[in-house]
């Protein structure tokens, strides 16, 4: 499977703030890629860099195998995006907005194409109403229509369910799944809600304070049979180094003070035995937190993150 988005060591610094810090990830063709993090974690900044709205301080971005900044126009012709709350021209109708952005995306839309696009998002009855009369949900749907009108290969959705009611959220979810499964689109969706990402994404990345916390297959990461095992040792740094050179390396979770591994509960005794064998002085082994708790703690309240911090 080829990489559609390939990001290496991406960083963005605004004055003294590191909004994104050495971020690397890959989105493969056909993925619905969940991009999870709290508000202010760096999701929107990353997405803006992918769309050339913001220039990276360091790092590289390749999309469709080409460098984004040297092949910008070519790449963006194949990209559709909804960036945060989609704002459109309030004094124009839905139809006029769609026509305008379709032309800016490089196509010459026919009337039937535009009306069909509005039908896909459920706005055919309001095609000629001015956008200023629209609810937030309707604007969101029109934003999706704008993102899809030129039939892009890659769709980037930044918090697409913001401001939607439960029915709207369900509709959005179904649309994303349809785009992926029936139309073969590659989709990157950012959100601060694990529950939403869980239902639609095939792969995901968690970002916190601009840094990658974890990346992987959603099914694997959220496997309920796997637990979060927290280990406290006399010398956590030494213990972490030893574990990184052992068979347990792949299960180690980054970024917290204590050592945490995602693993089957049944493997805990083996872990303890190996730790003793490595002459690591164990103080406690605690498999009380679930993986979901871990992710929730990273993506919601700051207090929960502190609980995991060293």
């Amino acid at each position: 499977m080829s990489a559609i988005i390939d990001v290496h060591h991406l960083s963005k610094q605004f004055k003294e703030i590191n909004a994104v810090n050495d971020l690397s990830f890959t989105v493969n063709e056909g993925d619905v890629y969940g991009f999870l993090g709290q508000n202010g974690a760096g999701k929107s900044t990353t997405i803006r860099m992918l769309l050339t709205l913001v220039k990276p301080t360091r790092g590289s971005i390749r999309i469709f195998g080409k460098d984004l900044f040297t092949h910008r126009t070519q790449i963006l012709r194949q990209v559709g995006a909804v960036i945060e709350k989609p704002d459109l021209y309030k004094y124009l109708s839905a139809y006029d907005n769609l026509a305008l952005f379709a032309k800016m995306s490089g196509i010459d839309p026919t009337r039937s194409l535009l009306l069909n696009q509005l039908k896909v998002v459920g706005l055919e009855d309001r095609a000629y109403s001015k956008v200023k009369t629209f609810s937030q949900g309707m604007k969101q749907r029109l934003g999706i229509a704008v993102a899809l009108v030129h039939d892009p290969k890659l769709i980037i959705l930044d918090e697409p369910t913001n401001g939607l009611d439960p029915q709207g959220i369900a509709d959005m979810r179904n649309l994303i799944l349809k785009l992926s499964r029936e139309m073969g689109k590659t989709i990157l969706v950012s959100s601060h809600l694990l529950s939403e990402v869980e239902l639609i994404a095939s792969r995901m990345l968690i970002i916190h304070k601009g840094k990658k916390m974890v990346e992987g297959n959603v099914a694997e990461l959220l496997d309920p049979s796997k637990s979060l095992v927290q280990i406290e040792t006399a010398h956590n740094a030494d213990a972490r180094k030893k574990l990184e050179h052992s068979k347990w390396n792949g299960l180690l979770l980054p970024g917290t003070k204590n050592i945490q591994l995602k693993m089957n509960k049944e493997d805990v005794p083996d872990l303890i035995a190996d730790l003793v064998g490595m002459e690591i002085k164990l103080l406690s082994v605690n498999p009380t937190h679930s993986l979901e708790d871990y992710f929730l703690s990273l993506t919601t309240q700051p207090g929960h993150v502190e609980a995991f911090a060293d």
């Binding site: 769309l51 050339t52 709205l53 913001v54 910008r72 126009t73 960036i83 709350k85 305008l100």
Partner: protein, 293 residues
């Protein structure tokens, strides 16, 4: 680029705010014409009455369509920059404020092309505004008041231009005014690129023009020497130069002549240079700008 320009023009002319300027100009000119229909002679006497002791002043003949157009331009062209700023100042920052800028910049169009398209859309708006002004100020005045010689009252002298020698000067004057207002649009564009809200660039443009105009007109020797030659507002009245006619050795006007063409050409040069500087700066700033709105 042409398609982009069409889109930008579509956006400008679908916005209700755009028509404020057209309405204001039409109303203002009609008011002046109405006033001069009723009290033209009195108005002229107010200005030239001090010459009544020495000359027979043909007030009725002076109050003709060509002269009224000159009067309108004299009064209006000082204030039209505000109307230009109203649209040009909003052209980028308005999109940022509305939230549409991020969508625009994520489209497969170069930022340079986008800014230039917006600039040329503003230029088109300026030309449309001037054409509208010409329709009311010149055409309608001629219809209502007829044509005649134009008497231009300067602070130290009066110039009289024969009827047959007037029309081409208006074409030249409107052309010059277009350049001056395009300069205002380019300044507004630069401020618009630097801002994320609509009001700042509009107010900023107006304030800069007011302050620079005051310095240009105040006749304080220090400013006249060190500031005035470098202010673009000093040159924006150059359209009037087309109505300052040259005279022969006998002191009689020379038909088809302009008193100081080099000064007008210099003004055009300065205006065009400032415009190029502002537009170039706008492009450079916009290309580097992080779109966070």
């Amino acid at each position: 680029m042409w398609k982009l320009l069409q889109i930008e023009l579509y956006k400008i002319f679908r916005k209700p705010r755009t028509y404020i300027a057209f309405g204001a100009i039409a109303a203002f000119i009609l008011l002046i014409q109405l006033a001069l229909l009723a009290n033209g002679k009195d108005y002229l006497q107010f200005g030239l009455g001090f010459l009544d002791d020495s000359f027979e002043i043909p007030y009725d003949k002076i109050n003709n369509g060509y002269w009224i157009c000159f009067l309108v331009l004299n009064l209006l062209l000082i204030h039209v920059p505000i109307l230009v700023a109203l649209v040009a100042g909003d052209i980028v920052s308005g999109e940022a404020n509305m939230g549409t800028l991020r969508l625009l910049v994520s489209k497969p169009i170069s930022r340079t092309q986008l800014v230039l398209a917006k600039f040329f859309a503003a230029v088109t708006y300026v030309i449309a505004l001037l054409a509208w002004m010409a329709l009311f100020a010149l055409v309608l005045s001629i219809v209502l008041f007829g044509t005649g010689d134009v008497v231009v009252a300067k602070s130290m002298e009066m110039h009289q231009i024969e009827k047959v020698d007037v029309l081409w000067r208006y074409f030249a004057a409107f052309g010059f005014a277009a350049l001056a207002l395009i300069l205002v649009a380019s300044l507004s564009l630069l401020l618009s690129v630097l801002s994320d809200n609509s009001i700042g660039p509009i107010v900023g443009t107006v304030c800069i023009i007011i302050v620079c105009t005051l310095i240009s007109e105040m006749q304080i020797p220090l400013y006249d020497k060190y500031l005035r030659p470098y202010l673009f507002t000093t040159y924006m009245l150059g359209w009037k130069g087309f109505f300052y006619i040259a005279v022969d050795g006998d002191g009689q006007t020379i038909r088809g002549s302009v008193e100081n063409m080099p000064a007008i050409l210099k003004s055009i040069g300065v205006i065009v240079t400032y415009t190029l500087v502002f537009v170039t700066a706008s492009v450079m700033v916009f290309r580097k700008k992080d779109i966070l709105s």
